[in-house]
Amino acid sequence: MTQSTSHQEPAIGLARLAQLFSMLWQFIGLGRVNWGRLMVIAVPYFWLALFFFIPFVVVFKISLAESAIAVPPYSSLLDWDLEEAYLNIKINLGNYLFLWEDSFYLDAYLSSIKIAVISTLLTLVVGFPIAWLIARSEGTTRTVLLALVILPFWTSFLLRVYAWMALLKKSGPINDILMAVGLIDQPIQMLQTDFAVYIGIVYTYLPFMILPLYTALEKLDMTLVEAAADLGYRPVQSFFAVIVPLALPGIVAGCLLVFIPVVGEYVIPALLGGSDTLMIGRVLWDEFSINRDWPMASAVATVMLVLLVLPIMLVRNRADDQEGKA
């Protein structure tokens, strides 16, 4: 017996220690904390706080600074000297004033919204028949059609835009075909126009429109359409009286999924648009990389965030809530 106790002594010591610690934890009020739960919440929480939330604070701060020829190229807001006990806060609202006064920026915002609205509607018109067809087909046909929609989505966005550059060129196949058919005598300028931008946007964002539409239309009970027909509605009438209202959540979701990223789009106007295609994402990029005016770029970003992104997120949350209630 004595021998065995001596063997167990370290274990008992450890147990005592553990007990002591647990008493300590309870004493400082951590005894009931579920450490696993805390970890699961805290790790992603702090990651997002550090790499998602704080960056916006930094952007806002720098938007109030002045551009400077320095590394990094902006002035600091705070000057302090502990020995002389002074703190100097310098806030520069000049960037925002400039945004307001120079119509270039306002035009860029408005033109971005215009392009986004038009291309969202175009995407809806192109996407709806496809979504409807997939939703109404069955079995293998549906799987294949769905795969055909999703496949381009998995291929590189950049390369898909690039593909249109080749097609729309003056010496590209579209001009060749049109001339061969005799519709035009001279190649028309399509690349570097707003037309090319619309084509590019509709093309790259089509899957984002089709998938939510499909999900909504798939749930739609076809007997409702039959009931409408039975009650005297022509197909077009029942489309607007029955199908559109019931598919509305999908339509809204699809439109938002297209509209929001398009507003800030940079690659498509840069590659397909002309120098006169004004979009705010491009302005921000140029301000940052060509003019190296980081405070101005930050001001553009802040305004974009407050005027475009936040309202849309609020709308989206409300739409989500309503869908949840329904």
Partner: protein, 268 residues
Amino acid sequence: MKKQGSWVLWGSATLGFLFLYLPIISLVIYSFNESKLVTVWGGWSLKWYGELFRNEQILNAAALSFKVAFISATLAVVLGTMAGFALQRMGKFKGKLIFSGWISAPLVMPEVITGLSLLLLFVALESLFGWPAGRGTLTIIIAHTTFCMAYVAVIVQSRLAGFDETLEEAAMDLGAKPSSLFFLVTLPLIMPAILAGWLLSFTMSLDDLVIASFVSGPGNSTLPMVIFSKVRLGVTPEVNALATLMILIVAVGVLVAMFQMRKRPQPE
């Protein structure tokens, strides 16, 4: 009349699909074009594929992109799954509303804003703490992880929401303790969502141009950045070849995945 309607429908849908695929098909065809002039057909050739594999700039960029995509997809899956769990299964906690806002915001955030804000953060951090020292692979990985984890979180959360909670009760009823529940029941059931989240993150990271351009340093060009700088100057046949290869890989991957899914249909 019904027939006519479906004819119109099929017609417009076919046009839609042509619209989706013609550019890709033309890209593939021109990648085999012998001629340097992209629009002039000079006969079939694999010349540009050879050029592609001799182009070190592209190869290095591809290697960097795959490395970044792999690491950030993996990190995003870990963080995103945790976040999805926190939102769906952890009940109420302080700041949950803010947290769910932060999770869904990257989905709608214009890339230029995300890119700019992260760059400014890295610069500020470096001047304050000396970390991260300079910008390069690490900063790209952090940026990609951040926006990809939001997608993973949303996918995992929706899978958890559609999850029959009686399954967990059944497991407990059969003697499983809550601590082992996760690995016995929950993880195997949300595995498809986690895999989907990983794949999505991987492709998004591989595809990202804007954010990477903001947060990468000199000499750290990812594949999209190299393609973009080449393409800006006009159409180049090597990029056609590269695009064809990437489309091929993706097509094979997606088809295999779908075939697998069909073989093991998901429970209703």
